[in-house]
Symmetry: C2
Subunit: 155 residues, 2 copies
């Protein structure tokens, strides 16, 4: 059960595309440079995002990538699901494999399912525009950002 660099980098790239949404296509070379990431690695991630229809690729000189929809249409969950090999979430009953023999009576599997669904619910309701707003607030006057932080510090 994990979130790796693939998903994390994907979010950063999508945020970058959202920030520069009006500029049209942006090449991997530029994104990787700006975000200090390996261009070839980002290429692979873009491939997944393209195949899933989250971004639109334009080949050839002056080509690049752009969001397929406006930033408000993307949830963090969506981005993670597409880029991550999320097979090992809910490890007791993997998607393509045979479930653990004690799956039915073992209660611990429900804990991991609960964890997964909780994360999903959280990230489902977090869009790129939410994050852009948070970013503005983080740098400038805090408002929404503090809302999230207060939830974070509630414990």
């Amino acid at each position: 059960m994990r979130i790796s660099t693939k998903g994390r980098y994907a979010l950063r790239v999508m945020l970058y595309l959202a920030e520069h949404y009006t500029l049209g296509h942006i090449a991997v070379k530029v994104i990787a440079e700006e975000e200090s990431l390996s261009p070839k690695y980002i290429e692979q991630i873009m491939s997944k995002l393209t195949k899933a229809g989250l971004v639109i690729a334009v080949r050839g000189a002056n080509g690049g990538y752009r969001l397929a929809n406006s930033p408000s249409n993307y949830s963090v969950a969506q981005i993670i699901k597409v880029t991550e090999n999320n097979e090992d979430f809910s490890p007791c009953a993997p998607a393509g494999g045979t479930p653990c023999p004690r799956y039915k009576k073992c209660i611990s599997s429900d804990v991991w399912q609960l964890v997964q669904s909780t994360i999903e619910e959280l990230l489902d309701n977090l869009t790129l525009t939410d994050l852009l707003r948070m970013q503005q607030d983080k740098l400038g006057t805090p408002s929404l950002y503090l809302t999230y932080l207060s939830h974070l510090n509630k414990k």
Copy 2:
């Protein structure tokens, strides 16, 4: 950001000890047999649980392990924290390492912190007795188990 077999097995072992709380000490050999886990691997996990004070070990013949406190005193979060190498949670600013240079301005790091704190809060409030109750309800008459499942299916 991951939960591995160490943490998951540890929870199963702790649940087993909680179920047989009244029996006194139970040997690794028995637990491993009952839970279909590698005895030598469980030994290592028990070592962590012992050092953290969650269980009490009795060496020698007729020895074994027992919970240090009653099951209601253990949260899932506690068990995971002790057994898991939780360094790679919040990957942007690791505990012992240097934080990512863009940590201050990059908003995506806040997403992962939010994920982490959400999981922590969830698992902090989930005790072994909660799970035992869920297990009874799962097999017999459902009550609390359905409460959790409804939350799970809410989305």
